[in-house]
């Protein structure tokens, strides 16, 4: 049997994987601070293949996260902020310190300032407490002012190299990744939506579908070749 059929199978599986990621990007276009992810593909020699084999299969091996800025929506809500440039806010996520660009700030019943529902870290290294009965005001430098006095500043960081996605618009540095403090400020009264665009997703969706069909065509051709071999056997 022609083993090229497995190359076709690997290609089809890779395209299906790509569609999964497109579906995720598209379903999150309205999620604040969401960053689109794109699977990375790599060619490989099937295990046990001869070194001279001309058949090279493909598989998804990693996920790249696109950290570019998303669409900014003006809300005029004084507690909606977007860090300038590509800086991230540090928050206490469910699994430890994480970073987010979801700048929808709220105050929890105990008076702790939250960003996207997670306690946000100040430059002081602690979470930011808001006294009862007061409303914090965020200034352009990222300072949290309560009744005219700046009590703390939002701690902002740049994420470099590898990034791991933790869900809920939270990101953390992956192996070899680094977190560098950033000196930028914030834009107030705006919120950053996802950076996945419908155009990009549609084009890659069409691409994935067509390449999937090509792979299916290849599998079918190999099947026809196999059928011919069987027919030749019958003729004898």
């Amino acid at each position: 049997m022609a083993d090229g059929i497995y190359v076709g199978m690997a290609a089809a599986a890779a395209r299906a994987e790509q569609l999964d990621s497109i579906a995720d990007n598209l379903s999150n276009v309205e999620t604040p601070g969401f960053k689109a992810s794109h699977p990375a593909f790599e060619s490989f020699l099937p295990r046990g293949a001869r070194k001279t084999s001309d058949k090279v299969a493909t598989a998804a091996v990693g996920t790249g996260t696109d950290l570019s800025r998303g669409i900014v929506k003006v809300t005029e809500n004084p507690l909606d902020v977007v860090p300038q440039g590509s800086a991230f806010m540090a928050v206490q996520g469910p699994g430890g310190l994480a970073y987010t660009r979801n700048g929808r700030l709220t105050v929890d019943p105990d008076g702790v300032l939250l960003a996207g529902g997670h306690p946000v870290m100040g430059l002081s290294g602690n979470t930011i407490e808001v006294p009862l009965g007061t409303t914090p005001i965020i200034n352009e430098r990222g300072g949290v002012t309560i009744a005219g006095t700046e009590v703390d500043r939002l701690a902002l960081f740049e994420l470099q190299n590898n990034v791991v996605h933790r869900g809920q618009s939270l990101y953390a540095p992956g192996p070899g990744g680094a977190v560098v403090p950033s000196e930028v400020g914030v834009e107030v009264g705006q919120v950053e939506m996802a950076n996945a665009t419908a155009l990009d997703a549609t084009v890659s969706m069409i691409g994935a579908q067509r390449q999937f069909e090509t792979a299916m065509q290849a599998i079918q051709t190999y099947r026809r070749l196999d059928d011919r071999v069987i027919d030749v056997g019958k003729a004898r």
């Binding site: 995720d24 379903s27 869900g167 992956g174 099947r223």
Partner: protein, 261 residues
């Protein structure tokens, strides 16, 4: 590929819920004291297909993980607590709150609720009540012979009586603030109930600690902006369509797959 079918379905569900919220906001553009609601979306935890590992001494390792996100969910619906526009009504029983406070009212069942709708009325026994007859706390009773009612910005209620030249003080209106007003639960009839997450209630005199001041003869209209809602509606519809396209594409690919045999 089956993953993408379900992922796109979460997207469609989220957009559908957003549409329901927009419809409710638009239906309440003329409701006194209504605060617009917005759904907050969160991405679901990613499925990690291959874990990232640090490179060994010979190099190698998996520098980035292979993660596939599994769609979106609605985390919560939040009320935007922004001030609505002030509408001049000239009616002495209309009160607008300029600030964060709420009127505390007692419902016929004896339960306590909160409202920002200041279109008050006087009931048959002279008590200050809301449109729906919930009694304003603390109780203010107007003498039947009252000719004019003055409510000062600090909440002092004064009545002009035919027998006296000076207005008589009837009582003091209070406002209640919450640490996290976005967590109040709406009960309909413009009423809100505190929840575990809304935090501590503070009973204040109008003008104290951000409770806001009262404006007699004004009403706070809803803070829904029709243009914003319309734009949201367009983008919601398009996102819904895009997600349904993903389902279609995944279906076509599955169809192609099953036609192999």
């Amino acid at each position: 590929m089956l993953r993408s079918l379900y992922t796109a379905a979460t997207g469609m569900e989220a957009q559908q819920l957003k549409m329901d919220v927009i419809a409710n906001n638009l239906a309440n553009t003329a409701t006194t004291g209504f605060k617009r609601v917005r759904p907050e979306f969160q991405d679901l935890l990613s499925e990690t297909v291959i874990q990232a590992t640090a490179a060994g001494p010979q190099g190698g390792g998996q520098p980035v993980p292979l993660q596939v996100g599994l769609g979106v969910k609605t985390g919560s619906t939040t009320r935007s607590m922004g001030q609505g526009d002030m509408q001049n009504t000239q009616n002495p029983l209309d009160l607008a709150i300029e600030g964060n406070g709420y009127f505390r009212v007692q419902m016929p069942t004896g339960e306590i609720a909160f409202t920002r709708a200041g279109n008050l009325r006087v009931d048959e026994s002279g008590r200050l009540v809301t449109q729906h007859g919930e009694i304003i706390e603390p109780l203010i009773t107007l003498p039947p012979e009252t000719t004019a009612l003055t409510i000062k910005s600090d909440g002092t209620v004064l009545a002009t009586l035919p027998t006296k030249s000076e207005p008589t003080e009837l009582g003091q209106l209070h406002l209640t603030t919450f640490t996290n007003p976005a967590a109040l639960s709406a009960m309909g009839h413009n009423l809100f109930q505190p929840t575990g997450a809304s935090g501590q209630e503070l009973q204040l005199r109008p003008g104290e600690q951000g409770a806001g001041t009262l404006s007699q003869g004004f009403l706070e209209s809803s803070n829904v902006k029709a243009v914003e809602e319309m734009i949201d509606m367009i983008s919601t519809q398009r996102s819904y369509e895009m997600n349904s396209k993903v389902i279609q594409t995944a279906d076509q690919m599955l169809q192609r797959l099953t036609s192999l045999r």
